[in-house]
Symmetry: C2
Subunit: 458 residues, 2 copies
């Protein structure tokens, strides 16, 4: 490919909305975690689907890589330009196109963030539940099959995307799905694109499922003597079918970091943070049942907060946990693990994880969406210390092995990107080759986010 | 291909478990609805995955068509042998392999039926919710992305299959998914195979999500003066977020047929049949709320039945409705429509459907899973009367047009098979070509259920 030709052609389409500024290139080559900066050759700011199609057509003709960019909050380097090319930044495609309260769905452009959407929906009585913490773009969340704190009740992006408009690797505009709630008509291409991390095409529009704002919400923090008690409490809660809306674990290291960062004063022991959604009586009933389960596992200090400001404070604290942990060791870089195991193996997985990190003398506070069997260790290291970095990478590797050996997955919600590519064959075996065959068919010139997700081409 | 060679090779693998009996071939070429008999050349009865792989390898070598067969209850001719070949009957692969109550999942062979599974689960406190009416095999239900009466609460097969083992078109054994509740690892091949109707490979094992048996269940029938009142009641119920477990419409013609078939005595007017799942107080609260909504729309005679035998009688009646309608005109054949529209368009769709059928003088009682926007008209005709048959086919065609024009789908739950192939391009446009490209890659010799679902090969 000749990058100069690509840039010249794109400029005629986009004018000033094609950026070559050094800071812009660097920003679009940077991830939130430990990956080296990998800048694209240009950043495009399209304003509509037709422009995206033109961009991809030009890139396809020149065999130039194309990466999608939402808000840059992915954690495995999904959006970084491994082989240069054009980063397509969707920040100008951020319109909510059509809110349909009577069908409980909404059509949005990919650059709309989840907080913007929920702000807009506030008066409608509806909300979009998927909440990965970061104020990510909805296109990015679909691309990485994001989930987060509420997946235990409302599902992940897999469950909440009804249909898509995509620009294929050939620059064609295509729609998947309909507005019907369900369909048995043909291959589920919506599901194929959700989680494909921009390797099959670019998402230019999403139809999302909305949910009714619950009549009543209560939230609670509950302290435990040890992680095992908290985890056993989660397992019993899930197995009992209690429809908790959130059930999050933070270990004592995380609590310590959060207290220091957010000036809170939680007891420095493991906690479960919970939220219940339902009718007034339903929420009271759920909280009461949970209280009984927690007490059996040594839970204490369980109190509900029904006031909006108290609940917001609790979840603001939870959402700040990643940054709080980072701040606990100034100047450090992080590698965030993301394993997800069957719930019956959760205790075992967390215990083994803690023992491994202690043995390897790695700082790795644990927190996560334990109701799904999904948790993170935020492994801190000094990026200028090659020994420490290699110990952290080795530990991360062992944790993925642990997850796979327990019937789990290498990534519950962060996706593959650059960080998890080496586990794909181990997790999927023959199915990884099938993913490669599908990629080869839908993107024969390997221009869509090349080097990610599928087996490398020879 | 030489069928004789295929049969000779398969016989060495399967012995007596390869059937060439005329009645067996005819049975495996017959659907429950209006399609002509299309028998395969042989029926294979494998007992394990390795045998399935051997069967497919032999067929692949000879370019011989392979169709999967569960219980033969699909409604669009999915399992019929359009081009001859080998029907793989999974009735001997009917073991429940591993029930894991603590993870609320189960691993089953494809020949297990949903009723057998729930019978086995009875003592575990768990159940598998997807209920299409027929006692279908779980492999077949996954292949057609089945749903039914409980999808409004528990989702369809799309939502309840966690992972699969499949035999690919090359005869390779492959696994998709893990035992973790969620994953962001790679393309969602599980979702790709669910609903692919045997065109990409054969499902040889399923990992299914289970749900806790509700603490309390109540069911109810509620009579309405007219269909519009019933449908508006459904729309309000769904939009209010009431978590009904079932909400089914039967129109007055259906009630009349059911009364006559099942010796029941419901008032011969449109009814909603409901079920509520939850805690004792939750169920009472739901039923009360529904009662208020129903009253606003002219609903009457709303009473709950909490006794198991009363509930069973209600749902036995609902499940017999298809056969009751068939029996209402002895000797007739049926074409069952299956449109699914956004819930906001449901009234309009049902009214237009009724008006169209009345105008065309076609008997077509309406019933369906209205909580999803999905309903059926059972169009009755005399298969020896070409004029009536062509009027019925034309009406079915108009109803699909109606659904697509309202933002819906040609099939909510019955799938494509032979009956809906002609609507694929209209519904999916460019996406149908992409389905064809995926099929071409994964089944290059077009041996897996050829002639179904994807664009015909030249």
């Amino acid at each position: 490919m000749s990058v100069r030709d690509v840039i010249a052609e794109l400029s005629t389409v986009l004018g000033q909305r094609l950026s070559l500024s050094k800071s812009d290139l660097e920003h679009h080559g940077t991830s939130e975690t430990h990956f080296a900066v990998m800048p694209p050759d240009a950043v495009a700011y399209p304003e509509n689907t037709e422009e995206v199609a033109q961009i991809v057509k030009i890139c396809a003709r020149h065999r130039c890589p194309v990466m999608g960019w939402g808000t840059g909050t992915s954690l495995e380097g999904q959006a970084q330009a491994l082989r240069g090319g054009v980063s397509v930044d969707f920040s100008r495609m951020n319109n909510i196109l059509d809110t349909r309260p009577s069908d409980m769905d909404v059509r949005v452009q990919p650059g709309v963030t989840r907080e913007d959407l929920n702000q807009e929906l506030r008066a409608s009585g509806l909300f979009f539940p998927v909440d990965p913490g970061a104020n990510a773009s909805l296109g990015g969340m679909a691309s990485t099959r994001a989930s987060g704190t509420t997946a235990v009740r409302y599902g992940t992006m897999r469950d909440n995307v009804l249909g898509l408009e995509v620009v294929t690797a050939a620059g064609e505009i295509m729609r998947t799905g309909t507005r019907a709630r369900k369909s048995s008509s043909g291959y589920d291409l919506t599901a194929l694109f959700v989680g494909s991390e921009g390797t099959l095409g670019l998402i230019t529009e999403l139809t999302l499922r909305l949910h009714g704002q619950p009549e009543a919400v209560s939230a609670a923090a509950c302290a435990f003597d040890n992680v095992a008690g908290a985890v056993d409490c989660v397992i019993d809660t899930i197995q009992m079918g209690l429809p908790v809306a959130r059930i999050e674990l933070v270990d004592s290291d995380t609590v310590r970091a959060v207290n220091s960062y957010s000036a809170t004063s939680l007891p420095e022991c493991p906690h479960l943070l919970l939220e219940f959604h339902g009718s007034e009586t339903g929420v009271a009933e759920q909280a009461e049942t949970f209280g009984l389960i927690a007490a059996e596992h040594g839970g204490s200090g369980f109190e509900w907060a029904t006031r909006t400001e108290d609940r917001n404070a609790l979840w603001a604290m939870r959402h700040s946990a990643f940054h709080a942990v980072l701040a606990s060791r100034p100047g450090s870089t992080s590698l965030v693990t993301d394993i997800c195991v069957p719930i019956s193996r959760l205790s075992e997985a967390i215990e083994a994880c803690r023992a491994d990190l202690a043995e390897a003398q790695i700082d790795g506070p644990i927190l996560g969406h334990v109701g799904d069997g999904n948790f993170h260790a935020v492994l801190l290291f000094d990026d200028t210390d090659p020994d420490e970095k290699s110990r952290v990478l080795a530990a991360s590797n062992r944790l993925v092995d642990l997850s796979l050996s327990l019937g789990g997955t290498a990534t519950g919600e962060h996706g593959i990107g650059l960080g998890k590519l080496s586990y794909m064959e181990r997790e999927h075996g023959q199915a990884w080759a099938m993913m490669g065959a599908i990629k080869q068919t839908l993107d024969p010139h390997n221009i869509m986010n090349p080097g990610k997700l599928v087996p490398p081409k020879n």
